[in-house]
């Protein structure tokens, strides 16, 4: 009665064993991965290049072929620290602008929890970074810590303004060229129209002769029009590379 058929049970037992084993491995791997992920959330900012340069300068190593470590003058260290402060200013601005958006997105549930975690970690890191910079500044020059970020702020603002002004100045040259070209075009068109008018009064017979001399196909267009000045509404950047061909097309339609 109680004679168990071990052989018959072997298969179900093996099945149960495999099942339990699978579950255990899965849960262990899954949990481990999750813990790993939360410990290694992608940082909010990329590598802090200026900070790396600053610290690298402090820890200069002797170059190949020479024994002693190269001496880095203090002024270079100070400049590097100021550059680091400027980059921190950029990051503070980013964090401040992102904070509002981030928290409202989180409330609405549009972004996951890990983004918020990353953000908070970045915020905390920035605080530490600022404290560190102030301490370093005070160590280099007494009381510099109080003003280094003021200076860095102005440097960042000035850089942004100057970049925009440089952009505009660069555009000026292109504009000038374009306008120069356009003005000569308008002038020649005006001259040709005057010529064409004079010819029309003289008669049709020598019209063909003068047509040969004019290599530009625009002349015939200008002649047929009431006004010589075709005012284009394109921007110069769009107009300058294909200005001539465009004009021909416009003329062709009329």
């Amino acid at each position: 009665m109680f004679d168990i058929d071990w052989r018959g049970l072997l298969l179900p037992l093996a099945y149960l064993g495999v099942l339990a084993g699978t579950f255990m491995t899965f849960s262990r791997v899954y949990r481990k991965r999750k813990a790993f992920e939360s410990a290694n959330l992608a940082p909010w900012f990329g590598p802090h290049l200026q900070r790396n340069i600053y610290l690298s300068l402090l820890h200069m190593e002797p170059e190949e072929g020479s024994e002693k470590t190269p001496k880095v003058p203090d002024s270079v260290i100070r400049a590097a620290l100021l550059r680091r402060a400027v980059e921190d200013i950029h990051r503070i601005i980013q964090i401040r602008t992102a904070k509002q958006a981030c928290s409202s997105l989180l409330q609405r549930g549009s972004v996951g929890d890990d983004l918020w975690q990353r953000f908070q970690r970045a915020e905390k890191e920035m605080e530490e970074e600022l404290r560190d910079v102030v301490m370093e500044a005070n160590a280099l020059v007494p009381n510099w810590g109080q003003i280094i970020f003021q200076s860095a702020n102005e440097i960042a603002a000035n850089k942004a303004l100057r970049d925009r002004i440089d952009e505009i100045e660069a555009q000026t040259e292109k504009d000038k060229e374009w306008w120069e070209k356009r003005r000569t075009n308008i002038k020649t068109e005006l001259m040709k129209e005057l010529e064409a008018e004079a010819e029309a009064e003289e008669g049709q017979q020598d019209h063909e002769g003068s047509e040969k001399g004019q290599t530009n196909s625009k002349s015939s267009v200008a002649g047929s029009e009431d006004e010589p000045v075709l005012v284009e509404t394109d921007t110069p950047s769009a107009a300058s590379p294909s200005g001539a061909s465009k004009k021909k097309k416009q003329g062709g339609k009329k």
């Binding site: 690298s56 270079v76 590097a80 500044a137 002004i165 000038k176």
Partner: protein, 209 residues
């Protein structure tokens, strides 16, 4: 910046004479690193220009009044030439003033730089307009607006007018409309907008004809 106690070491090389920092020879420098090192060297050189007692940039305010006075003087000279209707000379003075304002040390208050730039660019735009240099005037006025967006109706107007003169009507219309957003009801701008609209209408009629 995952860990606050560690950093990525960048092999750097310092020139013993000029103290210029560059990436060490054995590692290929990325473009970002090169740009950053160039910025660092420029900043380092400009730190050497500080007055002797200062080792680091002084706080942004108060400003050293010498440069401001010089820039003011150049602007005044430009204005005087302008009143005598010697526009070329005036533009030259304004250009000198602009150079002075643009070469201010990077850590001086950017608000001050903006003030100076907006006035000088706006005046130079006006001088260029009198000379018929519309392209130059247009971009000067744009730079002026860039330095100071609000309360700068003259600059908005000058670029708009220059664009109209060059026949860039659609652009002018967009520009003036934007200017009106910033300046509110500015008579000059409204009139210019009407003029642009009228011209565009003319163009359209002519094109359809």
């Amino acid at each position: 910046m995952s860990d606050l106690d560690s950093f990525d070491f960048i092999p750097l090389h310092i020139d013993p004479k000029s103290k210029a920092i560059s990436a060490a020879a054995q590692t290929p420098a990325t473009r970002a690193l090169e740009a950053e090192l160039a910025a660092l060297n420029t900043l380092h050189r400009s730190l050497h220009g500080l007055d002797p007692p200062h080792l680091v940039p002084p706080p942004p305010v108060p400003v050293n009044p010498k440069r401001s006075a010089n820039i003011g003087k150049l602007r005044e000279s430009g204005n005087a030439e302008y009143r005598k209707q010697r526009y070329g000379e005036a533009a030259k003075f304004y250009t000198l003033g602009l150079q002075m304002a643009l070469t201010r040390a990077a850590w001086e208050p950017s608000q001050l730089v903006r003030e100076e730039l907006h006035a000088l660019y706006s005046n130079r735009a006006q001088a260029h307009m009198h000379l018929g240099l519309w392209a130059e005037a247009a971009s000067d006025a744009e730079a002026s607006v860039e330095a100071k967006r609000q309360g700068n109706a003259k600059a908005w107007f000058r670029r708009g007018r220059s664009l109209v003169e060059m026949g860039r009507l659609a652009e002018a219309r967009e520009w003036v409309a934007r200017g009106l957003e910033f300046e509110g009801e500015e008579k000059e701008l409204i009139e210019l907008l009407k003029e642009v609209d009228a011209k565009m209408e003319q163009e359209k009629v002519k094109r359809d004809a």
